[in-house]
């Protein structure tokens, strides 16, 4: 018998941990965000039936900005990670490496861009 070599996929284990956390975020926080931006705001329903609009959600206070960052970044990570894996299950297994690379690229760029806007707005005082 040949010698066994097993290597713990430590990086993947951590990425999976983030993926799971993202799943929690997408399940518990994303629905209310979509409700607010896609139903409440365009149709002037509660809570956007008064003076406030979704921009208040982003820049109204630090907590709102944090909510946006956590919800969007977590959902993006979870969604992309899972979708690229689903694609490998419908005949694209041989392109796995490429799918992973593209997936992580989208996640990385998306989160950096999101963080950049929020940090900029925080630093220039748009977020109060």
């Amino acid at each position: 018998m040949k010698a066994e070599t097993h290597k713990v996929a430590r990086l993947h284990a951590m990425l999976w941990g983030i993926f799971s956390l993202g799943g929690m975020i997408a399940a518990f926080l994303l629905p209310v965000l979509i409700y607010m931006t896609a139903i409440a705001y365009p149709y002037s329903l509660w809570p956007f039936n008064g003076a406030r609009d979704p921009s208040f959600l982003v820049t109204g206070h630090l907590l709102g900005a944090l909510f946006i960052f956590v919800t969007i970044a977590g959902s993006l990570y979870h969604g992309i990670f899972r979708f690229q894996s689903a694609l490998t299950e419908v005949g694209l297994l041989k392109y796995r490496r490429a799918l992973e690379a593209v997936g992580y690229f989208i996640i990385f760029v998306g989160i950096i861009v999101l963080a950049y806007y929020l940090v900029t707005w925080y630093l220039n005082g748009t977020i109060t």
Binding site: L29, T37, L63, L76, G79, A86, V90, G91
Partner: protein, 131 residues
């Protein structure tokens, strides 16, 4: 171990459409593809913010009122809710809680977490918008 395959190997390979073979597989694949909508909504939101960052706040708000975006977001909401429900169900399946001698069932986790989702959603609105 010695290799004694004298005949060509016969193995039924999965076709890309394997998930149509039974209802469980189909439900599974639907569940996995909901993640596409979760991801797309996130990307669209980031794009909306970029309109704001490179233009004005009104650009962002107009973008949110764009019928195409509203329409897509509504579909995304349906799939996100489906994603949430299946996630809660799986939570119950992989992390059953022991109460006395019995273990909680996945559907109990589903119901409990849906209630929790409503509470969290209300709290989020109250904390982030109404306060």
């Amino acid at each position: 171990m010695e290799d004694n395959k004298r005949y060509p190997e016969l193995r039924r390979r999965l076709s890309p459409g394997w998930w149509t073979a039974n209802r469980h597989y189909t439900m599974y694949m639907v569940r996995e593809w909901t993640s596409l909508f979760v991801a797309l909504y996130s990307l669209i939101f980031i794009y909306g913010l970029s309109l704001w960052a490179m233009g004005s706040r009104a650009d962002f708000l107009n973008f949110l009122k764009n019928p195409a975006i509203v329409g897509f977001s509504l579909i995304a909401l349906v799939f996100t809710m489906y994603h949430a429900a299946t996630w809660f169900y799986l939570l119950g399946a992989v992390a059953p809680v022991k109460i006395g001698r019995s273990r909680t069932k996945p559907w109990q986790a589903l119901v409990l977490n849906l209630i929790l989702l409503v509470i969290i959603s209300y709290l989020a609105i109250w904390l982030l918008v109404l306060r």
